[in-house]
């Protein structure tokens, strides 16, 4: 299967600190990959490199064979680990913004999704709670029919009920043949959703493979395996 996202010996250093260390991995279309690791392991750095927000110190990252640029960004749906929408916008203006810039964005889908989440078109982002803002951002990202979805900690920092809702939204809405990369440290919730797993520590991949095979080989759940691998 052709890899949508390809990382070859990808390295990123910030001064003396190496956040990603010769990281090599492929992420294929039609598969959901969990990027699992503790805080500071390099998950966000990897995602930012793929999203084109950082440039590699060494090695290469490519999307569909291209280095991240304006062309790849048109096909990559990125959910940051923070709120990035301008607070002064109303929901309908945010939808218009996405429609203007992304050809693969469906405003109808977004509106439907948002009304399910009880978010009104006239709501102003600055007046929303943190959880609602995150749901809005997720809804907008998942309304895109992208080739690669990069979701940075979509369920971190939200209550369990919201987590269920978020996972539900993700599963229902991603484009079928797209590659989905979800970074998280909450393994238990996400484990049944994953096709593949990449466990990362100190910027290096420590365990990769299909979730099913890893469970069989090690005879334990991803959650238990994670605890074992990342024992402090």
């Amino acid at each position: 299967m052709q890899a949508v996202l390809n990382c070859q010996s990808l390295t990123k250093s910030f001064g003396a600190k190496t956040a990603l260390d010769h990281f090599t991995a492929q992420f294929c279309g039609g598969r959901i990959t969990g990027l699992l690791g503790p805080n500071g392991s390099g998950k966000t750095t990897l995602i930012k490199l793929a999203a084109g927000l950082l440039t590699p110190t060494d090695g290469a990252v490519s999307i569909g064979g291209r280095a991240p640029d304006a062309h790849t960004k048109a096909h990559v749906a990125y959910l940051p680990d923070r709120m990035s929408l301008p607070g002064s916008l109303q929901v309908r203006e945010a939808i218009e913004f996405f429609s203007d810039f992304y050809a693969d964005f469906s405003a109808e889908k977004a509106s439907a999704l948002l009304s399910e989440l009880h978010i009104q078109p006239g709501d102003r982002i600055s007046a929303m709670s943190k959880g609602t803002r995150e749901k809005l951002q997720l809804a907008l990202v998942m309304s895109r029919a992208a080739e690669l979805y990069l979701l940075d900690e979509p369920i971190g920092g939200v209550d369990p009920a919201a987590r269920d809702r978020i996972l539900d939204t993700i599963i229902r809405n991603y484009r079928e043949d797209a590659a989905l990369v979800i970074s998280t440290h909450l393994i238990g919730d996400i484990e049944p959703v994953l096709d593949d797993v990449v466990m990362i520590q100190n910027g290096k991949p420590v365990l990769t493979g299909s979730a099913e095979e890893l469970r069989e080989t090690h005879g334990k759940s991803m959650d238990a395996l994670f605890r074992e691998v990342f024992k402090c």
Binding site: L54, H71, L85
Partner: protein, 278 residues
């Protein structure tokens, strides 16, 4: 894509600037009215229009209006610069830099919007002043004022304003692009980015000053070495007022444009290769 960027730029900045224009308009209108009606009515007791007290009140109003107009110009600049910082280098940068748009397009969009607002502000201020000037009873009419400009600068008033406006815009673009570059450099630091941006701005200005001094000095050396001084003096003396104006404008425009290009390409390089969002 660029059009969309510019459209959203205007939307975002209009939120704050349109009300400011509104306030300036109201104040200007009031001032105009007050000045216009100045000599019409005098009430018993020495109050009313045309009395000294009224004159003081009118004077204060005009002063406030002038202040507001000045503030309008300054606000346009501040908003433009702050917009770049907040929208591209803050959390919103996570949204903006993952759009299918190049960093160069981001810079251009913000610059275009900024220049548009600055131009609007300048034209507004000019209009306000001219209107006030004609409001004073017994002063020159509009056509009379324009005629004065015609005679002084030996070009039609319309042309004068257009050329002044374009020179202003080129100078403004120079100012904005230098600010953008400073902020891009400042963003390279992990903490106290705002402080780093100001520091970068100061340093860049110092560098520019040094370059200018050195440049002029070198030019003078070259001129004297080549014995061109007498020829130059003769040339300048033979120029008319208009030609001096043209020459000045031409030289300034060239210098500013070169600066614009340098700042733009440097800023773009930083945002492409060394993007460092908080």
């Amino acid at each position: 894509m660029l059009k969309n960027l510019i459209k959203h730029e205007f939307r975002a900045t209009a939120r704050i600037l349109v009300p400011l224009f509104g306030v300036a308009l109201v104040l200007s209108g009031l001032s105009w009215l007050v000045v216009r009606l100045g000599g019409i009515l005098v009430l018993p007791g020495g109050t009313g229009l045309g009395s000294p007290i009224f004159g003081v009140v009118a004077g204060i109003l005009v002063l406030i209006t002038v202040f507001a107009l000045f503030a309008l110009m300054v606000s346009a600049a501040i908003i433009t610069i702050q917009r770049f910082y907040k929208n591209l280098l803050g959390d919103e940068g996570y949204l903006m830099f993952t759009l299918p748009v190049t960093p160069g397009q981001h810079i251009l969009a913000k610059l275009v919007a900024g220049l548009a607002w600055s131009a609007a502000a300048l034209v507004f201020v000019w209009s306000a002043f001219i209107a006030m000037a004609t409001a004073i009873p017994g002063s020159l009419t509009l056509s009379q004022q324009m005629a004065i400009i015609d005679r002084t600068f030996e070009i039609p008033a319309g042309v004068f304003f257009t050329r002044t406006l374009s020179l202003f815009l080129i100078g403004a673009s120079n100012f904005y692009l230098l600010a953008y570059l400073s902020m891009a450099i400042g963003s390279q630091r992990q903490g106290s980015r705002l402080f780093a941006s100001f520091a970068a701005y100061a340093v860049l200005n110092i560098i520019l000053m040094i370059l200018s001094i050195v440049g002029i000095f070198l030019l003078a050396c070259v001129i004297s070495m080549l014995g061109l001084a007498p020829k130059l003096v003769h040339l300048i003396n033979s120029l008319s007022a208009v030609q001096v104006l043209d020459l000045t404008q031409g030289v300034l425009t060239c210098v500013f444009l070169i600066g614009d290009a340098v700042y733009f390409f440097l800023t773009r390089a930083i945002l492409t290769r060394r993007l460092n969002l908080a």
